[in-house]
């Protein structure tokens, strides 16, 4: 029995990846450690992200129609394979809780200050649980409807902010020490580009797997382009404020004022932010429940959706005491913590599979 019957097209995969990458990175600006050179850090991070994507798509292409959980069992054997799979599932679960925390914290601070955070967590989680229960096809279709709005909003925002843009705020280029720039670019690679490793749970359901790597790269490049645009714009509009503010994209939207008519634009930004968060959390949530179902040989992942969702909310509730701690983890611990999951597991699995000459029957069926 297959746990997932749905299939998604390569276009849907690209859009889903674009939405996933834009996800929380549109609220927490990546590469902030590089100051006004943050856009260069994001560009470097995109290159590293493409390299990591090449590794995990190579693995997915070698084992067509298989998720990383099934691949691990084939490559490492049942027991070791399942242990490594549990580690990978933990990463998806933890990342889902971190993204959930980012969003609830953002909404609590900026939009709904009087609403308890638990209520925000539960509402967001219920929507995600409902989508995950309907499978990957529904999630992919949602992304095709929602992601274009965000993609459209970034250039529209930028155009509306032209009167406030001061290109001098981006000068001098490459002013930050190279060590700082490299650390910021590693941060930008690990969050958000290399997080697309979560798609090792999704690539198995692409209808034309041989075109999967191109679809992943396309999604990353589109998201990277708009993210660089957003980060450069934030620095050019907010100047030094872009580095010290928690949510530059949102703050920047508050600046928009066209003849006292077009104001309070941040609400529109807020709506698009929550849709991207929904996509990212749903993909991670989907990967977690599908992974658990495969590890424990369940016939369906439906029964565990709600309990896993509740546990994700609990992890999000306890993930950071305050916003400072959240950013501390995002900027210091996370770029290193993520490496074994984003690079280690896919790369080692690919190398071991090559050495063991797996899969033995040409890749379509093992």
């Amino acid at each position: 029995m297959f746990l997932e019957q749905g299939k998604i097209s390569n276009l849907q995969l690209s859009v889903l990846i674009t939405g996933f990458v834009l996800g929380s990175s549109v609220i927490i600006s990546p590469g902030q450690g590089a100051g006004h050179d943050a856009w260069i850090a994001v560009a470097l991070g995109l290159m590293e992200g493409l390299l990591i994507a090449w590794i995990f798509t190579a693995l997915a292409r070698q084992f067509k129609y298989k998720t990383i959980i099934e691949i691990n069992s084939l490559v490492y054997g049942k027991i070791l394979g399942k242990c490594i799979s549990v580690l990978f599932i933990w990463y998806l679960f933890h990342l889902g809780a971190l993204v959930l925390d980012n969003y609830a914290r953002f909404f609590k601070l900026e939009i709904y200050p009087n609403t308890p955070k638990t209520v925000l967590f539960l509402l967001l989680m219920l929507v995600c649980a409902s989508t995950v229960g309907r499978g990957i096809e529904v999630l992919a279709r949602c992304s095709v409807i929602l992601v274009p709005f965000t993609i459209l909003l970034i250039p529209v925002d930028t155009l509306l902010l032209i009167p406030h843009i001061d290109l001098n705020d981006l000068m001098p280029i490459l002013d930050v020490p190279s060590e700082k720039l490299l650390w910021a670019s590693q941060g930008a690679a690990s969050f958000p580009f290399a997080e697309t490793v979560a798609f090792l749970m999704v690539l198995a359901f692409v209808d034309k797997p041989e075109k999967g790597p191109a679809a992943v790269s396309r999604g990353l490049l589109i998201a990277g382009f708009f993210l660089i645009m957003a980060v450069a714009r934030n620095a050019a509009v907010l100047g030094p404020m872009a580095v010290i503010t928690n949510y530059p994209s949102y703050l920047m939207a508050q600046v928009i004022d066209i003849g006292d008519i077009l104001t309070r634009f941040e609400v529109v930004v807020g709506i698009t932010l929550i849709t991207m968060g929904f996509i990212k959390i749903s993909v991670l949530f989907y990967g977690t429940v599908l992974g658990l179902a495969q590890v424990f040989n369940l016939r369906s992942y439906q029964p565990i959706i709600l309990p896993v969702g509740i546990l994700m909310v609990i992890l999000a509730l306890t993930s950071a005491g305050n916003t400072f701690e959240m950013f501390e983890f995002a900027n210091k611990g996370y770029p290193i913590y993520a490496v074994p999951f984003q690079i280690g597991i896919p790369l080692i699995t690919l190398v071991v599979a090559k050495l063991r000459k797996l899969p033995q029957t040409g890749g379509d069926q093992v």
Partner: protein
């Protein structure tokens, strides 16, 4: 708050358990029960004011300590 939690978790269990028993999906039932119980116990702990350790902060402190960041 605790009554609300018991009600919420009770509804989830009432929806899931009879359906799983009817289908005789025992493995799924065990998985559900373990995860549901963990969620229930941790939720009760949080609602009674017990502070759970932050896993992210433990990871962060460990990495910062090892790499001297």
């Amino acid at each position: 708050m605790i009554a609300l939690l018991i009600m919420g978790f009770g509804i989830v269990a009432l929806i899931q358990i009879p359906a799983l028993v009817k289908k005789q999906w025992w493995r799924e039932l065990i998985c559900f029960t373990v995860l549901w119980s963990a969620g229930f116990i941790l939720s009760i702990m949080i609602s009674t004011g017990i502070t759970l350790p932050s896993i992210s902060m433990i990871i962060n402190k460990t990495i910062v300590g090892i790499f001297g960041l």
